[in-house]
C-alpha cells in the first residue's frame, strides 16, 4: 500500500490554471459534440442565424490576422509587467494563448464550410496572403491545444529558471510565427514566418546561456538559416518559372521544366526537412533539445518540427498535385513527378526513423533519447508524406497516416518532454542510469508516462497505434501497388517500431521501476499546474486511442476531400477504416515481442552502453572532404612553414564534430587564408591594376578579332 502524502498547493495560480484547463477540455467537448452531432448540436449551429451572418461577413476573413496578432499583444503586455508581477506576466501569456484556442476552436464550422482567404496587396512586394483551409486548420488546432497546455506547464516550470520574462516573450512571438507559418497562403509568407520562427525559437534554445547551449543554439540557428536559404532558392525558382506562389496546383507548368522541378522540390524538402529533423540534416535536433528548457523542447518537438513536416506536405500537395478538375485516374502522367519525389521521400523517411531509433537506444540522457525518438517519429511522418506522393491518386492512406501521426506525435512527445521536465524539476538529474524508483514518489507522473509511452510504442487503445497502423497500411499499399522494393521499407518499419517499444521499456525500467539506493526522501509531493496540463494531454491520448475514427471524421476526411485523391478510395478505405483488425493486432503483438526481446538482450549484454566512435557521425562523414581540405590548406599555401598556431591545427584535426563544428573550422581556415593573402593583395595595388587591365584588353580584343 502506497501512502499518498497530503497534497500541497504552492502556486497561487494553480487553481485558476486548473479552471482554464477545465475550460479548454470543455471546449474540446463542444468540439466533439459538434462533430458527433450530439443532440443535434451540429445542425443547431449550422442553421443558426448568427452563424450564417458570420459566414457572409467580411470580418471573418480577418480572423487569420487576429490570431497572429493576439500572441504578439500577449508578448507586449507580458513585457510591460516583466519581473514586476510574475503573476500578471504569466497570466497575460496564458490568457492570450487561451483566447487563441477559443477562436481556433470556434471557427471550425466556418472552415468546414469554406476556406478563409485574405489578401492584402502591397506588402512584401507580393502582398500578404493568408488562408486557413482544412489542412492548415488541423495543424493549427493541434498547435493551439498543445501550446496552451505547455504554457500552463511553463508557468510553473519557469519559476525555477532565470530570466523567464525573456523566455515568455519569445515563446509568445514564436507562437505567433508558428501560427503565421501554418496559415500562410503562399510560400513566401510561409518562408517569412518560418524565418521569424527560427530566430525567435533560437532565443528559447539558448535560454540556459551556458557554453553547451550556445554551441547547440549556434548549430540550430545556422542550420535553420541554411534551411531558410534553401527554401528561398526554391521560392525564387518557383516564382520565376510559375509566376505565382499561392498554394495551388502548378504541376502543368512544372512539367515543362524538366529536371528543375525535382531540384525545386528537393530544395523544399531539405529546407523544411532541416526543421523537421529529417536525416541527414537532423544534427541540430539532438543537440538543441537537451539544452533547451523543457517547455521549449516540448514545443520544439511537439509543434515546431511539425511545422517543417507541414511545410513539405503543403508545398508538395499543392504545387505537385494536379488540380482537382483535371485528374480522374491514377494513370495520368501528371502524377509522375509527385511519384518520383515520393519514392525518394519514403526512403529518406525510412532512413530517418531507423537512424533515430538506433541512436536513441544508446542515449543515457532522457531528453536526448526523446530527441532521437522525435527524429525517428518524424521519419514515420515523412514516410507517410512519401507514400502520399508516391501513390499519387491512391495515396490518401499515406496522407491520412502522416497527418494523424503529426497529431499523435505532437501529443505524446510533448507530454514525454513535460514528464522529463518534471523529473528534472524534482531531481535535477536527466541521466536515466542514475535515476530510479521514481514511481513511489511520483505516482501520477509515472501513470502519465505510462500512457504516453504506450502511445508512442503503438499499443492498441492508445493513439500511436492508430496512426502507426494507418502508416503501415500505407507502406503495404506502396509495395502492393508500386515497387516491390518497398517490402524492405515495411520490414524496417517493423524493426523500428520494435526498437521504439524497447526504448521505452528501457526508460520506464530505469527511471521509474528500478530499485535504487537513492530514495529522494526530500522530494515534496505537490499539486500544481504541471500535473493538470499533463493529465489533460494524457486524457486526449487515451480518447484518441479509444475512438480512432473521430479525428479521421473531424479533421482528416475534410482535408482529403479538398485534395484530389480518389474519392471512392477515401469513401471506402478511410472513412470506414477499422484499425482493430486481427492482423494489425497480431502485428503489434509481434512488434512488442521483438521489443521486449531486444530489451532483455540489450540489458544482459550491456549493449545500451555501446558507443560509436566519434568520427562515425553523419556530420563528420558528410563534411569529411571539406575537413581534409581545410586541414591541409595551410600546408598547400605555405609549404612546410605553415604559421598556423598548433592550437588551430589541433582544432582542425579534431575528430569530434560536437566540439568543433564545420563553421568553426571554416572560420579558422579563413583566418589562415586571410593572413596569407590580405596584406599581399593590398601591397600589390598597381600590379593588380596592370594585370586586370591587360587581361580585359586581351580578352576583349582577342574576342573581337576572332569573331
Amino acid at each position: 500500500m502506497i501512502k499518498i502524502p497530503r497534497m500541497k498547493i504552492f502556486d497561487s495560480m494553480a487553481r485558476s490554471n486548473s479552471y482554464l484547463v477545465g475550460l479548454s477540455l470543455f471546449l474540446l467537448l463542444v468540439f466533439i459534440a459538434f462533430v458527433g452531432n450530439w443532440f443535434g448540436f451540429n445542425l443547431w449551429i449550422s442553421n443558426s442565424k448568427f452563424y450564417s451572418q458570420i459566414l457572409d461577413s467580411h470580418f471573418i476573413d480577418y480572423i487569420s490576422i487576429i490570431i497572429i496578432v493576439i500572441p504578439i499583444i500577449g508578448a507586449i503586455i507580458e513585457l510591460v509587467y516583466g519581473d514586476k508581477s510574475i503573476k500578471h506576466r504569466d497570466k497575460s501569456v496564458i490568457y492570450m494563448g487561451f483566447l487563441t484556442l477559443i477562436i481556433v476552436v470556434m471557427i471550425y464550422p466556418v472552415i468546414l464550410h469554406r476556406t478563409l482567404e485574405l489578401h492584402i496587396p502591397g506588402v512584401f512586394s507580393l502582398g500578404l496572403n493568408l488562408r486557413i483551409d482544412m489542412l492548415g486548420y488541423a495543424v493549427l488546432l493541434l498547435s493551439a491545444f498543445i501550446w496552451f497546455f505547455v504554457m500552463i506547464y511553463a508557468h510553473e516550470y519557469m519559476t525555477k529558471e532565470k530570466k523567464s520574462t525573456r523566455f515568455f516573450f519569445f515563446l509568445s512571438l514564436t507562437y505567433s510565427a508558428v501560427i503565421g507559418a501554418i496559415i500562410s497562403g503562399d510560400l513566401l509568407m510561409m518562408f517569412i514566418f518560418f524565418e521569424i520562427m527560427t530566430i525567435t525559437s533560437y532565443m528559447l534554445v539558448i535560454h540556459g546561456q551556458n557554453d553547451q547551449s550556445y554551441k547547440a543554439g549556434y548549430n540550430y540557428i545556422i542550420m535553420g538559416l541554411i534551411g531558410g536559404f534553401l527554401i528561398l532558392t526554391a521560392i525564387i525558382l518557383l516564382y520565376f518559372n510559375i509566376g505565382d506562389l499561392r498554394f495551388e496546383s502548378a504541376i502543368e507548368k512544372l512539367e515543362e521544366l524538366g529536371n528543375l522541378k525535382y531540384w525545386i522540390m528537393g530544395l523544399l524538402v531539405f529546407g523544411f526537412g532541416i526543421k523537421a529533423g529529417m536525416a541527414p540534416v537532423h544534427v541540430w535536433l539532438p543537440r538543441a533539445h537537451p539544452v533547451a528548457p523543457t517547455p521549449a523542447s516540448a514545443l520544439l518537438s511537439g509543434v515546431m518540427i511539425k511545422v517543417g513536416a507541414f511545410g513539405i506536405i503543403r508545398a508538395a500537395s499543392s504545387y505537385y498535385f494536379p488540380s482537382k478538375d483535371v485528374i480522374t485516374s491514377i494513370n495520368d502522367p501528371l502524377w509522375s513527378a509527385a511519384s518520383h519525389i515520393g519514392a525518394i521521400i519514403i526512403w529518406t523517411g525510412i532512413i530517418t526513423m531507423a537512424l533515430g531509433v538506433f541512436l536513441a537506444l544508446q542515449q543515457a540522457n532522457i531528453k536526448k533519447m526523446l530527441a532521437y525518438h522525435s527524429i525517428s517519429q518524424m521519419g514515420y511522418i515523412v514516410t507517410g508524406i512519401g507514400v502520399a506522393l508516391y501513390l499519387g491518386y491512391e495515396g490518401a492512406m499515406g496522407l491520412t497516416g502522416a497527418m494523424y501521426h503529426i497529431i499523435n506525435h505532437a501529443l505524446f512527445k510533448s507530454l514525454l518532454f513535460m514528464i522529463a521536465g518534471v523529473i528534472y524539476y524534482h531531481t535535477k538529474e536527466l541521466d536515466m542510469y542514475k535515476l530510479g524508483g521514481l514511481w513511489k514518489k511520483l505516482p501520477f507522473t509515472t501513470f502519465t508516462f505510462a500512457v504516453a509511452a504506450l502511445g508512442i510504442s503503438g499499443i492498441p487503445l492508445f493513439n500511436g497505434y492508430v496512426s502507426k497502423t494507418i502508416l503501415h497500411h500505407g507502406i503495404v499499399e506502396a509495395y502492393e501497388m508500386g515497387n516491390h522494393l518497398f517490402f524492405y521499407a515495411e520490414l524496417m518499419f517493423i524493426v523500428v517500431s520494435a526498437g521504439t517499444v524497447c526504448s521505452f521499456i528501457k526508460m520506464f525500467y530505469y527511471v521509474f521501476l528500478r530499485k535504487t539506493t537513492n530514495e529522494y526522501k526530500t522530494m515534496v509531493f505537490d499539486y500544481s499546474s504541471l500535473d493538470i496540463a499533463m493529465w489533460s494531454m494524457g486524457l486526449i491520448i487515451i480518447l484518441i486511442g479509444l475512438f480512432p475514427s473521430f479525428i479521421l471524421k473531424s479533421l482528416i476526411i475534410p482535408i482529403l476531400n479538398l485534395t484530389n485523391y480518389d474519392s471512392y478510395f477515401i469513401e471506402h478505405q478511410i472513412l470506414h477504416l477499422n484499425v482493430f483488425k486481427s492482423e494489425d493486432l497480431l502485428m503489434t503483438l509481434m512488434i512488442v515481442g521483438i521489443g521486449i526481446i531486444i530489451f532483455f538482450v540489450g540489458k544482459k549484454f550491456n549493449l545500451f552502453h555501446l558507443h560509436l566512435p566519434k568520427w562515425l557521425s553523419i556530420e563528420y562523414l558528410v563534411f569529411f572532404p571539406a575537413y581534409l581540405f581545410m586541414r591541409n590548406l595551410c600546408r598547400l599555401m605555405y609549404g612546410d612553414r605553415c604559421p598556423t598556431d598548433k592550437d588551430d591545427y589541433a582544432k582542425l584535426s579534431e575528430k569530434d564534430v560536437e566540439k568543433i563544428g564545420f563553421i568553426d573550422r571554416f572560420v579558422i581556415t579563413s583566418n589562415v587564408f586571410n593572413r596569407k593573402y590580405e596584406q599581399s593583395i593590398i601591397r600589390s595595388d598597381a600590379l593588380i591594376y596592370t594585370f586586370f587591365i591587360t587581361l580585359i584588353l586581351v580578352f576583349m580584343l582577342v574576342k573581337k578579332h576572332l569573331l
Partner: protein
C-alpha cells in the same frame, strides 16, 4: 524662380556652405551646425520636389551659360538622377544629424570646421556627378570627390590614416586616369563629351573604330571599378574605412562608392548602348567580377578582428551584389541593383553609425570586445542587429527584398550559378554577422547590472539610429512604393 535653376541652387548652396564655415570660425560652433542642417534640409526637400517634378511633369535640361549642349556643360535632371540625389541627401542628412552629436570620433576640436567643409564639398561633387550629362565634367567632379574623400580619410591626425590615405590617392588616381583615358578614346571616336550626343553617334563610331571603343570601355570598367571598390580593386577600401572617423566611413561606404557605380551605369547604358555591350560580351566580365567579389569579400570579412574593417569588406561583397544586378544588363537586374543601392545604403549607414557610437563610448573596435554590449547600448546594438539581419537577408528587412529581386533577375538571365553564389554569400554573411549579435546580447552579462548608465548618449545620435532601423524595416515591409520610383529611374536610364 525657375524650376530649372533648382538643381544649380542645390550645388551652389553646398558650395556656399563650405565657404561660410571658415568664416564662422569665431562664432559658436552650434551656429555652423544649424546652418548646415538648414542647407541639408533645404536640399533634401528640393531634391524631393525635383523627384516629384521629373516623375510627374517633365525632365529638366539645363545648359550652363546658354551654350549649346555640344560645347557647353549640360545638366539633366531625370528620374534617375533625381531619385539618387534624394537618397543621397536623405542619407547625408541622417549622417549629419548623427555627426553633430559629437560623434566625429578622433577628430580634433579645431578640425571640426574643416570636416564639415569637406563634407559639403563632397556632397556638392556627388550631386554634380549625378546631374551632369558630360563625361569630362563627370571626371572633374570625380576628382573633386576623390580629393575631398581622401582629405576626410586623413583628417584624424594619426599615423595609419596617412598611409591609408596615401594608398587611396594612388589607387584612385590610377582609376581617374583610366577613366580619363577612356573619355579621351571616346572623344577621339565620336568628337563629343556630352553623353546624349555620344550615345546617338555610338553605333556609327563602333562600326568605324571598334578598337577605340573596346579599349575605352575596358579602361572605364577598371577605372570606375577601382573607385567603386569592386573586388580585386577594393584594395584601398578596408584601410580607408578603418582609418576614417565613423561618420565618414558611413558616407564613404553607403554613398560615395555607390555614386561611382551609378556613373558606371550611366556610362554603360547611356554612352554605350545595350546592343554594343552585348556584342562585346561585357556581361560576362562584369558577372565574373561580381561573383568573385560576393564570395571573396565575405571570406575576407570573416577573418577580420576589427569591426570597421569587417564592415568594409562586407561593403566589398555588397558591391558585388550591385554589380551583379548591373552586369545582367537587363531591366530586372538594374531594378534589383538600384533597390540594393538604397537598401545597402540604409543598412551600411546604420551599421557604421551604431558601431561608431560604440567605438566613441567604449573605445573599442575589436569584434571580441562586443560581449554584453547589447546591455550597455541597447539602441546602438539593436539597430546594428536589424541592419545585420538585413545584410543576411532575413525577411521583414529591406535586405531580403533586394535578395529576392536579385535572385529573380539572375534567373531571368538564365544564370542559375549566380543564384547559388548569392545564397552562399548570404550564408557567409551569417557567419560573420550573427556571432556579433549573439555576443552582444547574450554573452557576458556582467554589464547587465550597470544598466542604469545605459546609453548615455546625446539624442542627436540616438534619433538617426532609430530612424535608420525603422526605415530598414519599412522598406522591407512596403517595397512597392519605392519600387515605382526605381522603375521610373531604370526606364529613364535604359531608354
Amino acid at each position: 524662380m525657375n524650376i530649372e535653376q533648382l538643381p544649380i541652387i542645390n550645388l551652389l548652396l553646398f558650395l556656399l556652405m563650405a565657404l561660410v564655415i571658415p568664416l564662422l570660425k569665431r562664432r559658436p560652433f552650434k551656429l555652423t551646425l544649424i546652418l548646415g542642417f538648414i542647407v541639408l534640409g533645404f536640399v533634401f526637400v528640393s531634391s524631393g520636389y525635383l523627384l516629384w517634378y521629373v516623375n510627374n511633369i517633365d525632365i529638366i535640361h539645363y545648359t550652363f551659360g546658354g551654350h549649346e549642349a555640344r560645347f557647353g556643360i549640360e545638366f539633366i535632371i531625370d528620374p534617375f538622377s533625381a531619385l539618387f540625389t534624394t537618397i543621397i541627401a536623405g542619407l547625408a542628412t541622417i549622417i549629419y544629424i548623427y555627426s553633430s552629436g559629437d560623434a566625429t570620433e578622433g577628430i580634433e576640436k579645431t578640425e571640426y570646421g574643416r570636416y564639415y567643409v569637406l563634407l559639403f564639398i563632397l556632397l556638392m561633387s556627388m550631386f554634380g556627378i549625378l546631374y551632369t550629362n558630360d563625361l569630362f565634367n563627370t571626371y572633374v567632379f570625380i576628382e573633386i570627390l576623390s580629393i575631398t574623400t581622401c582629405a576626410i580619410i586623413s583628417i584624424k591626425k594619426k599615423k595609419d590614416t596617412y598611409t591609408a590615405a596615401f594608398r587611396y590617392v594612388m589607387m584612385n588616381e590610377l582609376g581617374s586616369l583610366s577613366y580619363l583615358f577612356g573619355v579621351a578614346l571616346i572623344y577621339m571616336a565620336t568628337g563629343f563629351t556630352n553623353i546624349t550626343l555620344i550615345g546617338e553617334t555610338m553605333q556609327n563610331a563602333y562600326a568605324l573604330y571598334p578598337v577605340n571603343i573596346i579599349i575605352a570601355l575596358s579602361f572605364m570598367i577598371i577605372g570606375l571599378g577601382i573607385k567603386a571598390a569592386i573586388f580585386p580593386f577594393h584594395i584601398w577600401l578596408p584601410d580607408a574605412h578603418s582609418a576614417a572617423p565613423s561618420t565618414s566611413s558611413a558616407i564613404l561606404s553607403a554613398i560615395v562608392i555607390k555614386v561611382y557605380i551609378l556613373v558606371f551605369v550611366k556610362v554603360l547604358f547611356r554612352v554605350f548602348n545595350i546592343d554594343i555591350l552585348n556584342e562585346m560580351n561585357i556581361s560576362t566580365i562584369l558577372l565574373v567580377l561580381a561573383g568573385v567579389g560576393m564570395i571573396m569579400g565575405s571570406v575576407f570579412a570573416i577573418a577580420q578582428k576589427d569591426v570597421k574593417r569587417m564592415l568594409g569588406y562586407s561593403s566589398v561583397a555588397q558591391m558585388g551584389y550591385i554589380l551583379l544586378g548591373v552586369g545582367l544588363l537587363s531591366f530586372d537586374g538594374l531594378r534589383a541593383a538600384f533597390f540594393h543601392i538604397l537598401s545597402h545604403g540604409l543598412m551600411k549607414t546604420a551599421l557604421f553609425l551604431s558601431v561608431g557610437e560604440i567605438i566613441y563610448y567604449k573605445k573599442t573596435r575589436k569584434v571580441n570586445d562586443f560581449d554584453g554590449m547589447g546591455f550597455i547600448m541597447p539602441v546602438a546594438m539593436g539597430v546594428f542587429s536589424i541592419a545585420a539581419l538585413g545584410m543576411i537577408g532575413i525577411p521583414l528587412t529591406s535586405g531580403f527584398i533586394s535578395k529576392l529581386n536579385l535572385g529573380l533577375a539572375v534567373l531571368d538571365h538564365n544564370q542559375v550559378i549566380f543564384l547559388v553564389i548569392l545564397i552562399i554569400s548570404s550564408l557567409l554573411n551569417v557567419i560573420y554577422y550573427l556571432p556579433i549579435i549573439i555576443l552582444a546580447f547574450l554573452k557576458n552579462e556582467k554589464y547587465r547590472y550597470r544598466m542604469k548608465s545605459i546609453e548615455d548618449t546625446p539624442r542627436t545620435m540616438i534619433a538617426p539610429l532609430i530612424l535608420l532601423g525603422v526605415l530598414i524595416i519599412i522598406l522591407g515591409l512596403f517595397p512597392n512604393q519605392v519600387m515605382i520610383l526605381i522603375e521610373a529611374a531604370v526606364n529613364s536610364i535604359m531608354s
